[in-house]
């Protein structure tokens, strides 16, 4: 196992600059879950010059929609959804102070350029490890768009949420560098 770096939210710029692609992290604090439909609504509010339902400054958005919680559980199974669908909306959220994203899969050039400009991190959580990841969620509440069901905006209090830095704040990208070492 690699060295694990413990980080907490909200993220500060110094912490962000120290994180490098390939670092394993454990995240503690509040993070927000938002996926396709919530991003669309965020974007529409921004276009109309209106205020977002959550303050993004220093925050992390987890691209995810949980299963309903079983009785006695704080949260249902929860893992990352594929991030590229959020790409068209992401730069405008980064401009508004978003500092971290947790998802899986490729990001567009526009997103990576905006991450470098705004000093932000893209973390990967392990897709399909949703029962395991849920163990790090201690509290869960819907904070916006309840009508969207699993696509609502959730605030999770997480302890030691496992993730890997895939794209860091200078644009190093594990998805590009690491597979090359194993290509035959």
């Amino acid at each position: 196992m690699e060295n694990i770096i413990k980080i907490s939210t909200p993220l500060d710029t110094k912490e962000i600059i120290n994180l490098k692609a390939g670092d394993f992290v454990k995240i503690t604090g509040n993070i927000y879950a938002a996926r396709d439909a919530a991003h669309k609504r965020f974007f529409e509010l921004i276009e109309k010059g209106k205020k977002l339902p959550i303050d993004l400054k220093g925050q992390i958005i987890f691209y995810a929609g949980p299963t309903p919680a079983k009785p006695g559980y704080p949260c249902g199974s929860i893992g990352p959804t594929t991030s590229y669908r959020m790409d068209p909306y992401t730069p405008s959220l980064l401009e508004r102070g978003l500092k971290g994203m947790i998802g899986k899969g490729f990001r567009s050039k526009e997103v990576i350029d905006s991450m470098k400009k705004n000093k932000a991190i893209y973390f990967a959580a392990i897709g399909g490890a949703a029962a395991l990841i849920a163990k790090s969620v201690k509290k869960s509440e819907v904070v916006a768009y309840k009508d969207l069901g699993a696509e609502a905006v959730f605030r999770f209090y997480v302890e030691d949420f496992p993730a890997i830095v895939v794209i860091d704040s200078v644009g190093n990208n594990l998805y590009e560098t690491e597979p090359l070492k194993y290509r035959k």
């Binding site: 299963t67 199974s77 899969g105 990967a124 395991l132 594990l174 597979p179 290509r183």
Partner: protein, 281 residues
């Protein structure tokens, strides 16, 4: 004739969707354990250990393996001597799906209209149902909760007969290469060759449910499965796309007769969870 009540189908569908979403199939779990031994990347060993641990937690606690509990795909083989009574066939399947997803704490991921409203149906229905009429007096059900991270990476190629085996292999490998980390590798790749554009994809999807370790009975197709698997693993994508030797766990190819002018190739991509369950009514 044998009478089957619609409720028997509903109950079996419900049971199968719950089982598929909580309990990973043993053949897949064995393959993941082998993959952990074969993987050389330290990052990827950590990833595979997390995936294996996750599957154990889900099964033990009966919680969903993945939060994307999928679109409900159902393959049905209805014996022609079955007489269905006390209800409607399609309704029974959808009711079974609804009960599994509502009572089993599974995520409802279906929107009614794909473009404009995209309103959640809140029942995870309608299911996608494929029905074949076969000899006999039983109903065989195969359910596949299909996640869309991997489904979105699927592709159909209407190749030319002149493209031959090489063209087919390249098309499959390119599809997987383009998908990179998106479909939650290590994947299971279902391939359907021949038939029509639509039928090729249906048999590709069904091929995902083949037991891991079993190859196509036609040895030329079995050899192609092995060749494609090796080429995919040579891409270096690795588990979760973080670089490694194990990008794909199995390639399953099925084929059908096709038109003199055609060579349809459908690639249906499935994540490392590849959920499916079978039962008989």
């Amino acid at each position: 004739m044998r009478e089957v009540k619609a409720n028997q189908i509903k109950d079996k569908i419900k049971e199968l969707f719950l089982r598929a979403n909580y309990h990973i199939n043993p053949d897949l779990m064995n393959r993941l354990t082998e993959a952990l031994k074969e993987e050389t990347s330290e990052i990827e060993k950590s990833v595979l250990k997390m995936i294996i641990e996750n599957n154990k937690i889900a099964s033990k606690e009966e919680v969903p393996i993945c939060q994307d509990t999928g679109l409900a795909v159902v393959f049905v083989e209805v014996g022609q001597e079955v007489h269905l009574v006390d209800g409607d066939f399609t309704e029974a399947i959808n009711q079974g799906v609804k009960e599994a997803y509502q009572e089993g704490y599974l995520r409802k991921s279906v929107v009614d209209d794909p473009i404009f409203e995209r309103k959640n149906t809140k029942t995870n229905t309608p299911a996608i149902i494929y029905t074949d009429i076969v000899p006999g007096d039983k109903i065989k059900l195969l359910v596949m909760p299909k996640g869309f991270g991997s489904e979105n990476m699927s592709a159909i190629g209407m190749l030319k007969p002149a493209d031959g085996p090489e063209g087919i292999v390249n098309f499959i490998v390119e599809t997987v290469k383009k998908a990179g980390p998106n479909p939650c590798p290590p994947t299971i790749i279902g391939v359907g060759i021949g038939g029509t554009a639509d039928k090729a994809m249906v048999i590709a999807k069904k091929a995902i449910a083949r037991k891991i370790g079993e190859h196509n009975r036609n040895e030329k197709y079995a050899a192609m499965e092995k060749e494609v698997l090796e080429k995919i693993n040579n891409l270096g994508i690795g588990p979760a796309g973080l670089g490694g030797n194990i990008t794909c766990l199995a390639v399953h190819i099925d084929y059908l007769p096709t038109h003199i002018a055609g060579l349809p190739v459908a690639v249906n991509v499935c994540c490392h969870t590849a959920r499916h369950a079978e039962g008989i009514v």
